[in-house]
Every structure is written in C-alpha cells, then in structure tokens.
C-alpha cells in the first residue's frame, strides 16, 4: 500500500519540480521588477483590485521604460495571510529579482515583509496599510498612502471649531482603528471636548446594530467612526436605519467610511457625513480629473478610491527615483532618491519626509453631497502639508 502511493509520489515529484523551476521570471540587467503583494482574493480583495488597476494605469500612461530600464510589474496574491506575504516577499526578491516591493493591504501584512526588506536592502513601498508605526519597523519602508493620526487629528480640530462638544467613537478593533480612536480622542479632549464612550467593534463579520443602539442611548453631538475600506456601507445603512441621522447625531470620521469605491452604492443614507481624508475622487484639480477619467475608462467605470491613488503614487515614486538615480536600481540608491521626493499627485501636492519616510500631504475636510446625480465626498476645507502627528510627537 505504502509503496503504491509512493510510486505515485515519484511520478508527481518531477512534475512538481518542473513547475517550481518554470516560475522564475526572466530578469536581466535592463529590467527593473516591481513586486506588488496584495490581497487579491478574500475579504480585502477590493483593495487589491484598486491598487493593481492604478499601478497598471501608471505604467500605461507613462510608458514602461524609465532611464533606459524596462519596468516589469509582478502582482502576487497573499490572500490576506501574513505568512504568505512574507514568503512572497522572499520569493519576489530571491526568485523574481524584484528591486522594489509594493502594496501590503493590512498592517500585519506590511509588518511581515519588513524584516525581508531590511535584510535584502530593498525598498518596501506601503500603499495601503495605515497604522502609524509601520514605517518605524524597517529603514527601507516608504509610505505613499496615509496614517490614521494624519486624518483623525484634523477631524477633531474641525469638530471642536464647529460646535461639537460630546462625541462617541466607534472604531474597528485593530491597529488603524486604535490609532484613529487615540488621535481623535486625545486631540479632541485636549481642545476641551468630551469623549462619552469609546466603542471597539471586532474586525470580522461586523454587525454595527447593537453598537449603534448604544450610541443612540448615549445621545452625543456626533459619532466619530473608523471602519476599514469596504465596511462603510453596512455602517451607513444601520446608522440611518436606527434613525441616528434624524435624532441630530452628526456622523464624522476618517474618509474610510465614505470610501469612493462604495459611495455610489451606499445611497442617500450617506448624505451629509463629514470626514477628513487625503483623497476624494471629486478633488478639483486637472491632475485628478485626468486620473479619474483614465482610471474609469480602463476599468469599466470603476471609481478610483484612496487605495488606487496610493498605488498610483507608489509607481510615480519608483519612476521618479529611477530617474534621479539614472537607472541605478540598487536598494540604497533608490531609497536615498525617494527620501525628500515631492511631486503633484492626483490628490494634491505630496512629499516624502526624508526623516521618517512618511508621506506629507494635504488633509481635506469633506462632506458627502450629490454631484451630477452621484454621491461624492466634496472637499470644503484644506489643512495643508500634514505630517504624521504620531511621529511628529516623538521627534
């Protein structure tokens, strides 16, 4: 019996071995490989789709050669599991000879790849995960998305200035949520406001109804909310269903809850929500108009969200760094070129802080309004050049 099956193994062995060998990409000196690790399947798949589409769009709009090097984009699906992210990072560098790693949908996924980036001396561009401390975990991490404190602290200032005194916070219980809760709460209380209650919701299969009932019973002036990209619809619906909108409780938050990706489908229950964030598809600039139009055209009308713009800027960073190094794709040269880089993104002017490798960008206060028959986050106030307050407080 044992032998019979082992013979089967002996037949399969060479086949599997060949499959393993066949995989390596053909890399030569004139190709610079950008390895993108994203959750393409599972609950965070929408992040992966947006980012991949944006990265491909960048290459399509700017050509696939820069400083004489051909750019090759390799996309891998980590299914949202940290051990897979780590393995893919090792393989992209070791097997596909990637010069840059990019992507990382969630905080643990970005952290999983950090030691690989450090050891291999390869820049790791984080284009999604938004917990503030991520960039401290490896000197090779550069971020083009945002940090939660960056969006949450300005929201607290705005709330204070606009007559909101009592707030309940609801956040998803993981790194970014805790960041948002802390930075909104601390800033708000320092300015003289009161946090009535801090509620944390589990990350998986969230059901906000019981928590929103608590909010209603607390009767605050506003509820501050952070949920990950993709969970905004369910929150908004239950907010309206509980009649919280009619009982005069304002909805404020970071822009994740009114994600552009979902906003069109959420319906009118989202109208009037005020959020602070770094990107809205309705941002009024020629760069953004061209970006949104090209993105929607290339992707069946899908609206780009803040994940897409981060990946787009991630590619922009790679291109500009390669231009600056004149095609030198070694990790340290690229990293040095990236530090301090500043350019005009579809979201407005941005730069990479040379000390913290963190993005510096405008934060916009926006309100959900109907524009040309569809819902958009319409910006009405700008706080320019916001550095991540978490790291600013340390330095």
């Amino acid at each position: 019996m044992i032998s019979r099956h082992l013979v089967l193994g002996a037949v399969l062995g060479p086949v599997l071995g060949a499959a393993l060998l066949a995989a390596p990409a053909l890399a030569d000196d004139n190709t610079v490989t950008v390895g993108m690790i994203l959750p393409m399947t599972g609950p965070s798949a929408s992040t992966g789709k947006q980012e991949r589409a944006a990265a491909e769009l960048y290459i399509q709009r700017h050509g696939d050669t820069v400083s004489g090097k051909k750019i090759a984009l390799v996309v891998k699906d980590d299914t949202g599991a940290a051990d897979v992210t780590k393995r893919l990072a090792e393989e992209l560098i070791g097997n596909d000879h990637a010069s840059v790693l990019m992507g990382f949908g969630l905080t643990p996924l970005a952290l999983a790849a950090a030691p690989v980036a450090t050891e291999a001396k390869v820049p790791q561009i984080v284009t999604a995960a938004a917990t503030a401390m991520i960039t401290e975990k490896s000197p090779y991490i550069v971020r083009t998305s945002f940090t939660l404190p960056q969006a949450a602290a300005p929201m607290a200032d705005w709330a204070m200035k606009n007559g909101i005194k009592k707030v309940v916070t609801i956040v998803t219980d993981y790194g970014p949520g805790v960041d948002a809760e802390k930075w909104f709460g601390d800033t708000f209380e320092k300015a003289g406001g009161t946090i009535v209650e801090k509620i944390r919701v589990p990350l998986k299969n969230p059901d906000f109804a019981p928590f929103l009932q608590r909010v209603k019973d607390d009767a605050p002036d506003a509820v501050f909310v952070f949920v990950p990209s993709g969970f905004g619809a369910i929150f908004m619906k239950e907010f309206a269903e509980r009649g919280l909108d009619k009982s005069g409780i304002k909805l404020i938050g970071t822009g994740d809850v009114t994600d552009d990706d979902l906003l069109a489908d959420i319906g009118d229950s989202a109208l009037g929500a005020v959020t602070a964030h770094h990107y809205s598809a309705a941002h009024n600039s020629p760069e953004n108009k061209a970006f949104v139009e090209a993105f929607e055209k290339a992707n069946n009308g899908m609206r780009p969200n803040f994940m897409a713009v981060a990946a787009y800027d991630g590619m922009a960073l790679v291109y500009q760094a390669l231009e600056k190094t004149k095609g030198d794709a070694s990790g340290d040269a690229l990293l040095a070129a990236m530090k301090g880089m500043s350019w005009m993104s579809p979201r407005g002017p941005i730069s990479i802080d040379p000390e913290t490798r963190e993005i510096v960008q405008n934060i916009y206060v926006r309100k959900v309004e109907k524009k040309d028959g569809a819902l958009y986050n319409v910006e009405f106030e700008t706080i320019p050049n916001v550095k991540d307050p978490y790291k600013a407080a340390k330095h």
């Binding site: 032998s3 062995g13 393993l20 051990d83 780590k86 393989e91 560098i93 097997n95 643990p108 990350l203």
Partner: protein, 339 residues
Amino acid sequence: MRAAQPTATTRRLEAHLHRRARWRWPEIVFWVAALGAIVVLPSRAALINEILIAGLFALSLDLILGLTGIVSLGQAAFFGLGAYSAAILASKGFADPTLGLLFGAAIAAVLGLATAPLLLRGGDLTRLMVTLGVSLMLGELANRNGWLTGGADGLNFSMGKVLGLFPIGFTGQRNAALYSFAALFILFAVARRLAQSPFGLALAAIRENRLRAGALGIATSRRIVAIYTVSAAYAGAAGALLAETTQIVSLDLFDFHRSADVMLMLIIGGAGYLYGGIIGAAVFIVLRDVISAATPEYWEFWIGALLVVLVLIGRERIHDFAVRAASSLAPDAARGDAA
C-alpha cells in the same frame, strides 16, 4: 497474561510487524528527493519550507483522521496555538528555535488533552463542529488579548539561530527549509513507528469499528484521547515551525480556511498511509503557486474546478491511473509490495 512461550502465531505476527517496520526504497527515494529539492532549488526554499510545514500539519490530521477515523475541522486550533506559543516565547527573549518548537508542541498537546474528551460523544458532524468551535474561540481569545498576542496587528519577533549555528530569515531561507525538513523527518519517523506499534494497530481497529474494538478489550476512549493529544502536538509543532521561519504570527492562523485547506491537502494525497498529507501539501501548494501567479484574482476558480473534477472522476481511479502509468515507466517499482 502473555504466554511464556511464543506460539507460532505470535512469532508470525512479530515477523510481520518487523517486516512492516522496515523502510522501503521508495520511501528512501522520497526523502532524498525532498532533501534534494531544497539543495537544488535554493531560490524556491521559501515555498518548499511552506510545503514541508503544511505537510507536517496534514500529517497531524492524518494521525486522527487517517489512522483513527476521527474527523476534525479544528486542527487550526493547535496549529495556531503552537505558532503563538513559539512566537510569544521568542518575543519574551527565548529565541532558540528548537526550544520554541518543543514549547509550541507541548502547549498544543496540553490543549489537545484538555479538549479530547469533547470528541468521545456524538457523530461526525458534532465532532467537526466542536473542533471548529474550539479553534474559532481560540482565535477570538488571541484577538481579545492584544497585550500578549498583538491582536489583529499580529506579532513580530526575531528568532535566534537554529542550534545556535544556522541563521534563519531572508538570507537563511535554505536553513529554514532544512530546519523544517529535519523536524518533519524526525516527527514522521516517530509517527511511522507509532502507526506500526500495537498502539497503532489498536487505532486501526477503532477506525474500522469502534464498538467491536471495545469488545476486543481495547480501551477505545483512552486511545482516542492519546492519539488526539499526539496529533495536537504535531499540529502545534507545525505551527511553531511556521511562526519561527516567518517570524510573524497573525489571527488568520486560527481561521476556518486553515483547517479546511489542510483537510483538502490530506484528502488529495490520500489519508491513512502518512505520506498522503505531504504529497497532498506539495500538490496543493505548488498548484496554487503556479495558478495564482498566472491569475492572481481568479486562481480559486481553477483550484475549485480541480477539486470538483477530482471528486467526480473519483480519487481512487486517479491514483490507480497514476500507479499504472508509473508501472509502465518503471515496472519493478509498481509491483513493490502492493499486496
């Protein structure tokens, strides 16, 4: 109560057991090939490492499902617990991999021993759901105790060198794979010995008919508890290996899909002869790697289609076909000791 004089029957039995215990050449080829793959394909060491760990994980399921006939959808409980135990130990400064491996296996074994009585009652569905429930509760426990486990952000830590000599990490990928290989081989040899011992024969009797086994005087409950504990330790060791070689643990280790994937691997490779889990893990992971490289969003479709076809054609028929194909290539091998 044993007869003082060995009768002809017992002597024959002993000879039979002895013969079964010998390592056959296809087995030796199997292990040499696995070792060879690590040496020949250093750039794929990370993938091979994942296969070895998944193989050990599937072996742990084979111990209870294949040998004893007890179904479980909760192996991820032990896998995750082993991983977290090793990770927390390392994050507290005890970064020796071997120590972490033993610690992870031991803690998982304790949980196995504690939860084994839950398996003694009820039917297959009850067992599937109880084991699944235990693993999901552990995941929630890890989520809720962020001060210890890092919660939903996962836990990063650094690992010492294996035996104080071989670093594991990005530059030590091959060391990591060799370390996993050594652990798998040793644990496999132990499992093999166990399966062929009188204890293993008793398990086979329980698998075939638990009532009859009980009537033969086998203490079935105690044997089930014992093998479940061993299986838990194996799953814990697999988890500890994964944690140590990737240096991060996250909550998805306790997920339903971990338990489901390992069951798929074992069924693909065939349960009950110990090699099935390892072969299934290799097939499953390599296929997933190749297909998802080609189509990162839709690879699940092709894996699903393969599973459906596999069931419809019949797993046995595919195995038989492969064996026949093999025997036409190497007539000696297939004859082996098929009897």
